[in-house]
């Protein structure tokens, strides 16, 4: 049973947590100039914008179809390159395969890579390679490499140690060990993570064009700058359809894999 003083301490703790949360919230609201009144006066303007977006410009679909295909290409090639690069990185990050002095630096590199936002990577690659889909592909490759490598090394660490011990017992070397003991166990989850990163890449690729990295995002910029909101809404609709379609397909394939 809980004694009175225990209950008292618990109540004080909860109270303090709530107080800290409220203070955090209030401080953030002050810092970001959040105000309900500006939201209230702003909503009608947003309403006007939404009214201008309806109906979408249906004829615009034929213009942006190629750009949409470019976006899917970027996502697919980016995810593929990312998965290829992720594989060795994931092996080196698994503490049941390699000693600590390899695992620690590999994970450190992985963590740093995962903190860099994709749009920032894209802007840097645009500066190097110029406008187009190549910087987009490279940015997505690094972005998805981080995701796939992290998920993969977590599954490598959870694999069944039985086959590995058996192979050690019969004197297999490290390469044989990985080829016949590790890869068969993680091939299916690895493929699933690749598909998952492809799915995320499609969403990310949609906005990369905002910084000049090709694809449909480029058109977001152009139509918004020219105040052609009916065209913007057709872009939004088309990307929605593409994203839902790809999500559906990858989910089906993933279910088959696992």
């Amino acid at each position: 049973m809980m004694t009175d003083s225990n209950r008292h301490i618990k109540r004080t703790k909860t109270g303090l947590t709530i107080l800290i949360l409220v203070l955090l919230c209030w401080g953030s609201a002050v810092r970001t100039d959040a105000s309900l009144s500006s939201l209230m006066t702003g909503i009608p303007q947003m309403g006007d914008l939404l009214i201008e977006m309806v109906p979408p410009d249906w004829t615009f679909f034929s213009h942006i179809f190629d750009a949409t295909l470019d976006t899917i290409r970027m996502a697919l090639i980016g995810a593929t390159l990312g998965a290829i690069l992720a594989f060795p990185l994931a092996l080196f990050s698994s503490s049941n395969l390699f000693p600590q002095f390899i695992v620690a630096p590999a994970r450190f590199i992985l963590n740093i890579l995962r903190t860099i936002p994709d749009l920032l990577l894209a802007s840097i690659f645009v500066a190097i390679f110029g406008l187009g889909i190549i910087p987009g592909i490279l940015a997505l490759a690094i972005f998805s490499m981080g995701i796939v490598a992290k998920l993969t090394y977590e599954s490598i660490e959870a694999i069944d140690a039985g086959p590995l011990e058996a192979m050690t017992a019969v004197g297999a070397n490290k390469t044989q060990w990985i080829t016949f003991g590790v890869i068969p166990q993680i091939a299916a989850p690895f493929a699933a993570y690749f598909l998952y990163s492809f799915e995320i890449n499609v969403r990310a690729a949609v906005v990369l064009g905002l910084v000049g990295a090709g694809g449909i995002g480029d058109w977001y910029n152009r139509t918004l700058n020219l105040l052609q909101y009916d065209k913007t809404s057709s872009i939004i609709l088309l990307t929605l359809v593409v994203v839902i379609l790809i999500d559906y397909v990858t989910t089906k394939v993933r279910e088959q894999l696992l």
């Binding site: 810092r31 970001t32 903190t115 920032l120 839902i244």
Partner: protein
């Protein structure tokens, strides 16, 4: 002694082999299509030079920018980013609760109702936060508040989904006991459902907060406040040593936040 033992591997059944060939051909076709659209040899002649100045800038960051006595500096930018992520997460964590109950199979008597709720949540998820930010900039003007609203609305999609999954896995025993003893719907919710889902809710909100920190650092690229605004200025003016210090600042902030929220999540679950 019989020496002609069949050492070849067993062949898979014909039908399975055919299926494998079709899948292989399909994958090859997809990749041929994908690579056919990539313009080769489009690398600029200046690429090497630009690359050198970028690496030079990234390894010699502009330390003076960390704190400037008057106005826009790194620390204030990061503080803004943090504030956007905190408030955005709070707003979505509060707003997504009704959506989560709407989308849970065990909270609705009719299954289609939950289905519609799930669809609504995935519809919200498909809207990129940058597009939402553009909409909110039109409404409240450029600045951090637009970023807060964009994150607040966008995160409802994911948080609502995670919350509804948490609600679907609760133990229904307490709920039934309360109904049996004549509790009202609200009392059932308050005393049987909420206590079971609170830890999961907090943990998911923290997880989303980690994602929102990353998002908030790029929202400024389109004018929605935070560290992204000085970042895009530095990128456009090819001011690589400033890009270097901002990048370093973002990486350090994200690592610290991840460590803190990871520690809190471990204690909760």
């Amino acid at each position: 002694m019989n020496t002609n033992i069949d050492t070849s591997l067993p062949q898979p059944p014909k039908k399975k082999r055919l299926k494998g060939i079709i899948i292989f051909a399909l994958i090859v076709a997809i990749y041929v299509w994908a690579f056919s659209g990539v313009p080769l040899a489009s690398i600029q002649e200046t690429a090497g030079q630009v690359l050198r100045s970028i690496t030079n800038g990234l390894f010699h960051p502009d330390w003076d920018y960390v704190y400037l006595p008057d106005g826009e500096d790194l620390l204030r930018g990061l503080l803004d980013t943090l504030a956007i992520a905190v408030l955005g997460t709070f707003i979505s964590a509060a707003l997504c609760i009704p959506f989560a109950f709407w989308a849970s199979n065990n909270m609705n008597r009719l299954r289609p109702v939950a289905g519609i709720g799930k669809f609504t949540l995935s519809f919200i998820r498909t809207f990129p936060e940058l597009v939402l930010a553009i909409l909110f900039i039109k409404a409240v003007g450029p600045g951090s508040f637009a970023g807060v609203l964009a994150l607040g609305i966008h995160s409802i999609g994911m948080l609502g989904k995670l919350y509804s999954e948490a609600i679907e896995t609760i133990d229904l025993g307490p709920t039934e006991a309360l109904i049996a003893s004549g509790a009202s719907r609200f009392q059932v919710l308050w005393f049987a459902v909420i206590p079971q889902v609170i830890p999961a809710f907090i943990s998911f909100a923290l997880y989303r907060f980690e994602i929102n920190i990353r998002s908030a650092s790029i929202l400024g690229i389109i004018g929605a406040g935070g560290i992204g605004t000085p970042l895009i200025f530095a990128l456009n003016s090819r001011d690589w040593d400033r890009v270097g210090i901002i990048l370093l600042g973002i990486i350090i902030m994200v690592i610290i936040i991840d460590a803190i929220s990871g520690a809190i999540r471990k204690r909760i679950v």
